[in-house]
């Protein structure tokens, strides 16, 4: 079989598609003539579905941040450990929300008119970028072990220094370790799978494989 034969087979395909009238494009053209169609269809696009999860995360994050604000205000700054802990959790929540908002803006700026490798790489990196917000959220961890501290307890109870304080130290080291290690390059590690859950982890693994594939494709 030579190149001409191969191309001729494709030409048969062309002809058959025309004959079979597989896609009636005229009807979509009529559909998109109305802006109503564009408005209703918008929610179903691929980019729309990519940013939907992130939008939900932003809304939940804002509600959580609002609740934390009420807690701090309600405490009237009476307990410094409680105030500092809740404020720290609040700040990390806001940083994670900001990362999601940035990703949503970038998704909106994706231009399908750019080359395939460029667009596919940007889209895949954006899909995998959820991990950036997740690693920031883990930095809150030690502050969940400090909000109930008080000076009186520290002075009078040895158990505070033997149990509570070491637990906070362990959580701090763990949170920093996770922040440093939750990344695309560690995507295949078992601990990351346990941490993210099967669905999120599979999507991360697919993103990593596809990025490697794009890179290999570009190299030739």
């Amino acid at each position: 079989m030579n190149d001409i034969e191969l191309k001729n087979i494709w030409k048969t395909y062309d002809q058959k598609i025309e004959e079979a009238k597989i896609l009636n494009l005229q009807s979509w053209a009529v559909n998109i003539k109305t802006f109503e169609y564009l408005q209703t269809h918008k929610a179903a696009t691929i980019l729309g579905s990519l940013s939907r999860y992130k939008k939900v995360a932003v809304i939940l994050g804002l509600l959580w941040a609002f609740f934390l604000g009420i807690l701090v205000y309600g405490n009237h700054f009476k307990n410094v450990y409680f105030t500092v802990s809740v404020l720290a959790i609040f700040i990390f929540t806001i940083i994670a929300i900001a990362a999601y908002v940035k990703q949503i803006i970038l998704i909106g700026r994706i231009n399908y008119g750019n080359s395939l490798t460029d667009t596919q790489e940007k889209l895949t990196r954006l899909k995998a970028s959820t991990i950036k917000s997740i690693r920031v959220i883990w930095l809150q961890l030690p502050f969940y072990t400090t909000f109930f501290w008080n000076t009186e307890w520290m002075k009078s109870d040895i158990k505070f220094w033997l149990i509570t304080f070491p637990v906070t130290l362990i959580f701090t080291f763990f949170a920093i370790w996770l922040y440093k290690n939750i990344s695309l390059k560690n995507a295949e590690k078992k601990w990351l799978k346990m941490l993210l859950g099967n669905k999120e982890w599979t999507s991360l693994i697919n993103a990593k494989k596809y990025l490697d594939e794009i890179e290999e494709f570009k190299q030739g």
Binding site: M1, L6, K16, L23, A29, T45, Y112, G113, S115, G220
Partner: protein, 168 residues
């Protein structure tokens, strides 16, 4: 594209080049429902991206970029498309038409081989079969023309070999 006249021009351009959309939908989807969904996604993306179109490229180059980007993203977002590469629907629709059975068999084999390719390789072969120059393919895909030539030759040889082996 804001006013009615511009909208009409856009629709005419889409209709004149509808073959591009049809072929891409057939390469990335294997049943009528998915093909129609993808075709709508592509049409919608073309409409939304039309404001970004600049005459730096030919209209068809831009259209191929948008359509292939949407098709690849659609394919990757739908796991069932990756799991199931059965050609039932399209072959049934084609088989209803009168024609040469030997040619249909070859066509089926070619479709099968193209469907088994990776997403970007599939795009390369569609553009090659559509008689695009290596330079234009390079602009659409985003790699060098030399790389395009090397890859196409490699895939083409593999396709020929697989088709010949299957026929035996």
């Amino acid at each position: 594209m804001q006013n009615a006249q511009e909208k009409e021009v856009f629709l005419q351009l889409i209709l004149q080049n509808k073959g591009i959309i049809v072929k891409i939908c057939n390469a990335y989807c294997h049943n009528s429902a998915d093909r129609e969904d993808l075709a709508q996604e592509i049409t919608y993306a073309l409409w939304k991206s039309s404001k970004n179109f600049t005459p730096d490229f030919k209209f068809t180059t831009w259209m191929y970029r948008v359509a292939l980007n949407v098709a690849i993203s659609f394919y990757r977002a739908n796991k069932k498309l990756q799991d199931n590469i059965s050609f039932t629907a399209i072959t049934e629709e084609i088989a209803d038409q009168p024609g040469n059975h030997a040619a249909e068999e070859k066509l089926f084999l070619l479709q099968q081989q193209i469907a088994a390719l990776k997403e970007l390789d599939k795009a390369l072969m569609i553009l090659y079969f559509e008689e695009k120059s290596y330079k234009e393919i390079a602009e659409i895909v985003g790699i060098t023309a030399t790389n395009v030539a090397t890859k196409i030759n490699r895939i083409k040889e593999k396709l020929k070999q697989n088709i010949n082996n299957t026929k035996k």
